[in-house]
Amino acid sequence: MEEDALNQSTAAEADISLHMLSESPSGSVVIYVVPESSTVLPEGVSVYVGQRRTALLRAGGQMRVAVALKEVLASLETWIKQVLQVMSFSHGDITAALSDRVRPGDRSREGLADSMRAFKSSPGYEITFSLLNPDPTSHLLHWDVEAAISSYIQPLLSKMAPVANFSIDSQILYYAVLGVNPRYDPTLNAYTLNADSLSHVINPVEARLGSSAASSNPVLNFLLYVPDSRHSPLHITDHRRHTVPSNAFSSPRWGGIMVYNVNASGTELPVDVHIDMRRVMGVFLPQLRLMLGVQSAAPPPGFLIGPCGNAGLADWELDRLMWTRSVENVATATTTITSLAQLLDQIGNIVINDNIAEQVSSAVASLQLAVGQLEVGNLGLAMQYSKEAILQSERAFFDPSLLHLLYFPDDQKFAIYIPLFLPMCVPILLSLLKMASEVRQRPGQGQAKKD
């Protein structure tokens, strides 16, 4: 059966038929070793990573059939290690997941940037697409965002549903301008925004975006900016002053901005513009993947990573994400409970209600369950328990009855009694002084008496 599957002409087809044969549980990786003569892998490719949880590995050329099984495995070991490095949860992922808590040691700069780019783990995310139209008198913009979201974004989010809840909104903002005046570049005959000035773009826009009123989940913003006719075309240039082909940039843990130029040499204003949502989503979708923390390590040479299907996310990528998120959630919940314990240590007379005690104990129980499930390798349950742990620990920590300021600090109690202590100190101090002077004089007096 599997041999039939592996005899397919291309690796992608083989991958699909292998998946039909056996469903591998989440968190696992299945590696099929194919003989060197197999044509299923293209020339020069020794490992093919499929869109499910399978990988095809070409056996090394120097191997002969007669060699013992042990030796075969030994020769494959380095490859298998690399495959696991790519497809599964590795040591680097743990450090990335805990990057907020551990000091960045010898980690690569790129890894640091990757982990900083992604949003922190949260039970839910709000995704907002905003169309900025700075000049409605000249452009009348139409975007069919509803259809675009349902065909491009929604498959990814449905696949990621075990990780978090997502809600999507879109809005159109008129007269929203960027905070930076673009510079005219005569060589390009266009206006440019340099990468150095991009950091000033977001703040003025953000005042208009409006925070999410309905929930406290983090918001991912994706802005589509259509420059007005006076500043168009507008290009984003990188640090070496080359124009960026996608004309977009992203801001870590905030979202992405894309500039969409319209060559509306219209005769009659306002010009109707229908935005090509395919182009727009082609930029926003990879940005969204980065923001949501889909890790993308560079594959080692000889690796071919298959297309990730309709959802834009391979199964093994989802597994990796769930590993990372569970670990991160466990770490966050632990930190929250630890700091709550520290607070209680600091204030001796704090009142702890029963419901808080319950929340803390159930948070600890969920934490233990999550860690247990992680050890077993049961990803889905681990994710669920770690989310519960986070929710309960945060609810306990942010309970209004546990406010630090509600309790009267001890040092101020002493200040109130100063009117008592100060006058009482006077006679005590005076008598101490007197005693001291007596002690100093006594040796002299003793001598005088002897004489």
């Binding site: 780019r117 909104d169 809005q171 950091s199 834009g312 100060l422």
Partner: protein
């Protein structure tokens, strides 16, 4: 979030141009492209006719006192239904933040107003949209909401964030559920008061920080259209400023659509803003002129009330406009000059519109007395008891009409409901309906609703005595000697129309049309608010505990000191020194050479 500092720029995938090994990002982008390729390419049809529309208008009304009243109204209508199960999430003209609030809290109707100053009905006549001083919020929830109190609490907190106001101070002690005074204004026949919440914060100060978020909800912001006139330094330099927001479902008669109405009413004072000259212009009022309509608005108009000035004998209006509109407003037929901002001819040669009203006569004509008018004050002396007087005036010469009076009194004024008296023309006037909900200390306020018949041309006085409660020391406001506010009474009524009262018609009308008053003009709904009350409560001396501590501690310390001295002092026998007399005697004796005394 301070983005500017933390932004970490990073160009999107496809920007990598250097020769570094096939970079991750690039590969991902390819992948994404692939994803997109595998999907069917859709040909996006142009969206059908816009389902939302926006209208803006400004009404300018010269008042008889010489002041001027400007009323902005912005209306956004959207053919969608927040009540249905499907989530509404794609916004165009309707502000997203409000849409999210409506769908999250299942709000059927929301009315919120922020007002600075008190509307002087006797000088200015009726406002288009009445509002009490401070902040007022009333909300009808949908009947699917199970825990209305929880939804109300969360809603007030979210709204206080949206409008930068202290609406988070709304809690059960100032929230009531009126049974009759506040009926839904939109479609839907939910009249179960369990889903209604009403609260007033009379202490709320309204200022620019409330105006800015309010302006942000407009599609054009304050960048174009009528909203450019709303400069806060002028708007708040006025006798009366009120901004409000009303959301309700309205009928399009095939499907419901949602209406967001944002209103801003302002009265500029003749002396402080107008320098005493009876000459008003847009520039003088707002220090701006109009140059364009909001390009998103389907209609954008400026109305000037010229009812008292049909032939231009009272004041001169420039630039002149040929458009005139007539409407029955608050039971009174009014005539308006209309400037249509969507028409380029309105702006003329100068490309700007500065409506100017210049008076010819020093005095304007007599103002018709408002038919309904209310007043309220606190009587009594001392800090123990008092009496609330509410006066309701019916100035109609021959028609009696019923009014609904709503009083919300905080729990710390304990009403003696048995002392409630209603008198008009010196006679007892028994209310035909009384709804009274007693207060609970620190939990709920008094709610008193009465249906009173007002005799024609009369003053009806409602009095009720109260006792002032002693608060706990943490319950006092930071400035307790300023006093405690009691929100305005609300008087709602169906008032007989002035048009119907007007028997000798000045307007050309066939005789047969005017014998019986026609139905739609015969009465109109009106709501007026009385002044809020400021009541002094017995206020302790807050520094007293510390004074007592100081005094007793000093006394204890002095006592302790003397006792301590007594116990620790060592007594020594000391040679008594010679007395003063003896020393003097010795000096004299030495001079005389006599032996000294010892």
């Amino acid at each position: 979030m301070n983005v500017a500092e933390t932004v970490f720029i990073d160009n999107v995938p496809t920007t990598e141009t250097d020769a570094s090994p096939p970079s991750v990002t690039e590969q991902k982008a390819d992948e994404a492209d692939h994803v997109l390729d595998t999907m069917q390419t859709q040909d996006f049809p142009p969206p059908s006719t816009a389902k939302d529309q926006f209208q803006e208008e400004l009404v300018i009304k010269p008042l008889h006192s010489g002041d001027i009243y400007a009323s902005f109204q912005f209306r956004t209508q959207w053919d969608t239904d927040f009540l249905l199960g499907s989530k509404v999430s794609h916004y165009r003209l309707f502000p997203k933040s409000l849409g999210q609030v409506i769908s999250k809290f299942s709000v059927r109707e929301l009315h919120i107003s922020f007002t600075q100053g008190y509307w002087r009905t006797m000088q200015w006549g009726q406002p288009f949209l009445p509002s009490p001083p401070g902040a007022e919020l009333w909300v009808w929830f949908q009947d699917t909401v199970t825990d209305v109190d929880l939804a109300w609490k969360e809603l007030t907190n979210v709204l206080s964030g949206i409008f930068c106001a202290s609406l988070n101070f709304i809690d059960s002690t100032n929230t009531v559920q009126p049974s009759a005074s506040f009926k839904p204004l939109g479609v839907g026949n939910v009249t179960d008061q369990r889903f209604l919440r009403y609260a007033v914060l009379p202490r709320e100060i309204v200022c620019t920080e409330n105006l800015t978020p309010w302006k942000k909800l407009l599609p054009c912001g304050s960048k174009a259209g009528l909203a450019v006139l709303m400069k806060s330094e002028k708007l708040f330099h006025s006798s009366f400023h009120s901004q409000a927001l009303h959301i309700r479902p309205v009928c399009k008669c095939k499907s419901t659509s949602w209406e967001l109405r944002q209103t801003l009413n302002v009265v500029f004072d003749l002396h402080t803003s107008g320098q005493g000259k009876r000459e008003w212009s847009l520039f003088k009022m707002f220090s701006r002129t109009l140059t364009e309509a909001c390009p998103l608005a389907s209609s954008s108009k400026v109305y000037v009330d010229i009812t008292d000035n049909p032939q231009g004998e009272l004041f001169e209006l420039s630039p002149a406009t040929p458009l005139v509109s007539q409407a029955v407003v608050l039971g009174d037929g009014r005539t308006y000059s209309v400037y249509d901002l969507t028409d380029h001819a309105t702006f003329g040669q100068t490309h700007s519109l500065n409506v100017l009203l210049r008076w010819r006569a020093a005095e304007s004509g007599e103002m018709l007395r408002p038919l309904l008018h209310g007043e309220r004050y606190v009587a009594g002396y001392g800090l123990q008891t008092g009496e609330i007087h509410t006066l309701v005036y019916n100035n109609h010469p021959y028609r009696a009409f019923p009014v609904l009076l709503l009083d919300t009194v905080p729990w710390y004024l304990r009403l003696y409901i048995h002392t409630l008296t209603v008198t008009s023309k010196g006679r007892d006037n028994k209310p035909s309906y009384i709804h009274y909900q007693p207060s609970k200390d620190r939990l709920q306020p008094h709610l008193l609703e009465m249906l009173i018949q007002l005799p024609p041309n009369s003053v009806t006085e409602v009095t009720v005595q109260f006792e002032r409660a002693l608060l706990k020391w943490t319950e006092y406001t930071p400035d307790p000697n300023h006093g405690f506010y009691v929100g305005s009474s609300v008087i709602s009524a169906l008032v007989p129309s002035v048009v119907a009262m007007d028997t000798n018609n000045t307007q050309e009308r066939p005789l047969f049309s005017s014998f019986f008053p026609c139905k739609e003009e015969s009465t109109y709904f009106m709501r007026i608010y009385t002044e809020p009350l400021l009541v002094n409560l017995p206020t302790p001396d807050f520094s007293m505990p510390y004074n007592v501590i100081c005094l007793t501690c000093t006394v204890v310390a002095v006592g302790y000191g003397s006792l301590y001295n007594l116990l620790t002092r060592t007594f020594q026998v000391e040679e008594p020194s010679q007395g003063l007399a003896k020393r003097l005697a010795n000096i004299i004796r030495r001079l005389r050479g006599v032996p000294l005394l010892t």
